[in-house]
């Protein structure tokens, strides 16, 4: 049994950590947080040069042609560094949708541009309140023309193109939904930035008005493609959450070692120690569930839907738990803008919603476990 990353993959993780430690210190995250730029352009360029943006994109399409396990270790480091770049929307959502359903021409057009850092992509799925569901997709597509509003769209204000979920039927079934690719720099698109919990990864409202769009995948196949995209993204985001959990735990641990109160290190109080021990427990469970997700993703196993949902739930819980208790360990200082704790708290809570809420994924997990048991 070898339920672990290979030495090469671990080396890639070290390489990514070294790169991000240097190019993405908290100060860089803070610059985006403070609104000095919509994302860290220099970092984005650097990630492209390192080959990280296209690590799971085949060489034929300008990528490194490695695989999803390599992408998982990079994702973990992106989460640890709290990187203020549109990595998840471009790489986990847009690129994966193209890899699953794109025509050769579409892949040739967009994938090399993603790998080189020239194109930012995203997925436009949500339309206000609610979780991923065909019935929540109201934006209409007729004769390749889109009309409707998507919100929130992650990184929508800086994206060059979007994969858009649209309604092409009214039978009440999954087959009513089709996917389209829209060049957001073309006509018929109006983009408005939204304030959000985590300003280091923007959100936008996009209005499509008689907007020309190109189908992605067969008509009526949209929901089935989306389900696969969301499962893949769930695993990849879980690795970001695992990286973020570990970092928040480390910050709390370090502060507990440095801070003196009542004449002793606060980390010597059991109330603090036990809080940190529980954070370690959550982070460990999340890591192990995510490893299983990585295995299922990299082998395209039949277990992927169940593994992805479990990784998603476990990693979401862990990151929220570690980020909130990191602030608690820091006491008053943790609640200042100046300390970095809130950047992880913001990211943890934004990520908990991005692919659909915990409740949604809990529901998915039970459905998928039942399906497996019935099979």
């Amino acid at each position: 049994m070898n339920f672990d990353f290979s030495d090469d993959q671990k080396q890639l993780r070290d390489q990514a950590r070294k790169f991000l430690t240097e190019k993405c210190p908290p100060k860089a995250v803070r610059a985006v947080l403070d609104g000095k730029a919509p994302y860290d352009k220099e970092l984005w360029k650097g990630l492209a040069e390192m080959g990280f943006l296209g690590v799971a994109i085949p060489e034929d399409f300008g990528g490194a042609g490695a695989g999803h396990l390599e992408l998982c270790v990079i994702a973990e480091e992106m989460g640890r560094a709290n990187a203020p770049v549109p990595f998840s929307s471009t790489v986990y959502l847009a690129a994966e949708a193209l890899l699953i359903a794109g025509s050769d021409a579409q892949k040739k057009k967009w994938l090399p541009a993603i790998a080189s850092g020239e194109a930012i992509g995203t997925l436009a799925l949500f339309e206000g309140k609610g979780n991923p569901s065909p019935k929540n997709v109201k934006l209409s597509a007729a004769n390749g023309v889109l009309n409707g509003v998507k919100k929130p769209v992650a990184d929508g204000a800086i994206a060059d193109f979007a994969v858009v979920a649209a309604r092409t039927g009214s039978s009440g079934r999954d087959g009513d939904i089709s996917l389209f690719i829209v060049d957001l720099k073309g006509g018929g698109v109006e983009v408005k930035g939204l304030t959000n919990l985590d300003p280091t990864r923007g959100q936008a409202e996009i209005t499509f008005k008689d907007c020309k769009a190109e189908p992605l995948g067969a008509a009526g196949e949209g929901w089935s493609i989306l389900t696969q995209v969301l499962d893949r993204a769930a695993v990849l985001c879980a690795f970001e959450q695992v990286g973020g959990s570990d970092r928040a735990l480390e910050m709390g641990r370090d502060y507990a070692l440095d801070r003196i109160a009542f004449g002793r290190q606060i980390g010597s109080f059991q109330a603090v120690k036990h809080m940190l021990a529980d954070m370690y427990v959550s982070a460990t469970l999340a890591r192990s569930n995510s490893y299983y997700g990585a295995w299922a993703l990299s082998t395209n196993a039949a277990e992927l839907p169940e593994a992805a949902a479990a990784a998603r739930i476990s990693a979401t819980q862990a990151f929220q738990h570690c980020a909130k208790n990191n602030i608690q360990v820091h006491g008053g200082m943790g609640f200042t803008w100046e300390f970095d704790c809130h950047m992880y708290y913001r990211r943890a809570n934004a990520m908990a919603l991005g692919l659909g809420s915990l409740t949604y994924w809990e529901d998915q997990l039970i459905d998928r476990m039942r399906k497996k048991n019935a099979a």
Binding site: M1, F3, F5, L257, K273, A277, D278, S288, S314, Q317
Partner: protein
């Protein structure tokens, strides 16, 4: 990343599987498979006898205590082979429960500290289950604070005379031998005045009294020592070095990788999958689904944490500290799971025993569960261990550290 055996591992697995298929006591398989926390008895057989017979059969064919050296009754197997064996043994592994203390703790302590002639004499019958061992550490005055124990050992010629009381001794009532931690010098700080021995549980002056647990069952005992004689050659380690010897024992307790911990989740999921509530199937109920999903990811998290440790073993590496979370997570989880299963039964959940839903499976689990959060290290001690050994946080400030043992206060109030 894969779950495949190496060719060597696959060959070992096939051999083990074939032997188990030909030799295991299949008549008990179903009952063992359905056993859960608080219910591991066999209906029509004495589980101790069945367990001893299976252990002896394994020993005769070289399948007992796989990781022990052959000279001491083992097979000289690698750690990963031991894990593969456990996977293949499956429900029959439940029969090893009464040997866990002997094989997991007493044996390794004997191996590290006993004289060679004692190892050769005592270890093979321990491996084969012909002799059962227990561990006599905890006392009324020393639970989490084991080093606070008071049982005295005083030198008398070539013997030691033991007086005192132990408590929470698993299986003392059917044990032939035990390892015993005593105080030999009360005038020095508590960790420095301890000494370890092994003894024959049939020695004159040893009295075993079963404890009636909160669950109503009796798995543990009090053991009283009145002028019990132990020859000096049965001492394990130096006089005054008992604390270090006991750390070897406890370290082995916690290194049992691959041994599945019960969470109660598979039982609950199975139950909910067919349960009808007043307004429809339980599994369709939003609240039930949310609870199940939360426990599902804990159970799978523990499973894959264990897989990571097994992978390290497979590569010949030392597993990381991740496995230390198992007992902490599973202990409170099984308690919560049992509580919830009864909640789903409504008022009738109060009925236990044969007349209850599923013959009282979850009621028995509920009543046994508090013990899992205490035995082998309380939840609080487990959190201290994670905080100190894994995260590197400072140890507790101990007010009794440098105080002679006989000067430490013994009463809280009055």
């Amino acid at each position: 990343m894969n779950f495949d055996d190496t060719p060597q591992e696959a060959e070992f697995r096939a051999t083990a599987r074939a032997w188990i298929a030909a030799n295991a006591p299949k008549q008990y398989e179903e009952e063992l498979r359905k056993s859960s926390l608080g219910r591991t008895q066999l209906k029509n057989a004495n589980i101790l006898e069945v367990a001893k017979a299976w252990q002896k059969k394994k020993a005769d064919a070289g399948w007992a205590c796989l990781h022990w050296p052959k000279d001491y009754g083992g097979r000289g197997s690698s750690p990963i082979e031991r894990v593969i064996w456990q996977q293949e043994e499956g429900p029959f592994g439940q029969l090893s429960r009464m040997f866990i203390i002997g094989h997991g703790m007493c044996g390794p302590t004997m191996m590290a500290f006993a004289r060679e002639e004692h190892k050769r004499a005592y270890l093979p019958p321990l491996a084969s289950g012909e002799k059962v061992w227990c561990q006599l550490f905890s006392e009324p005055a020393g639970g989490s604070d084991v080093a606070g124990l008071r049982t005295r050992a005083e030198k008398d010629g070539d013997d030691w005379i033991i007086n005192g009381q132990k408590i929470w001794t698993s299986g003392a009532h059917y044990s032939d031998y035990g390892i015993l931690l005593t105080r030999t010098d009360p005038t020095v700080p508590k960790h420095k005045g301890l000494t370890m021995f092994f003894l024959d549980m049939k020695s004159p002056g040893v009295e075993v009294r079963p404890i009636k647990q909160a669950s109503g069952a009796s798995d543990f005992n009090e053991v009283y020592f009145t002028n019990v004689r132990i020859p000096d050659h049965q001492r394990l380690g130096e006089v005054g070095d008992g604390w270090n010897v006991s750390l070897t024992t406890l370290m082995n307790e916690r290194s049992a990788i691959g041994a599945a911990v019960s969470t109660g989740f598979p039982e609950l999921f199975e139950y909910c999958s067919s349960l009808m509530l007043d307004d429809g199937p339980a599994i369709e109920d939003r609240a039930v689904r949310s609870k199940l999903a939360n426990w599902a990811v804990k159970a799978s998290g523990l499973k894959y944490t264990s897989m990571r440790a097994i992978s390290a073993l497979s590569k010949g590496e030392r597993p990381g500290p991740e496995n230390s979370i198992g007992k902490l997570v599973a202990g409170s989880m099984i308690q919560d799971v049992a509580t919830y299963a009864l909640d789903l039964q409504g008022a009738s959940g109060v009925v236990s025993g044969e007349d209850a839903e599923l013959a009282g499976r979850f009621q028995a689990m509920l009543l046994r569960a508090p013990g899992t959060r205490v035995e082998g290290g309380t939840d609080e001690i487990m959190r201290n261990i994670i905080a100190e050994r894994v995260l590197g946080l400072p140890g507790d400030i101990r007010v009794d550290k440098d105080v002679p043992f006989n000067k430490i206060p013994t009463k809280g109030r009055g």
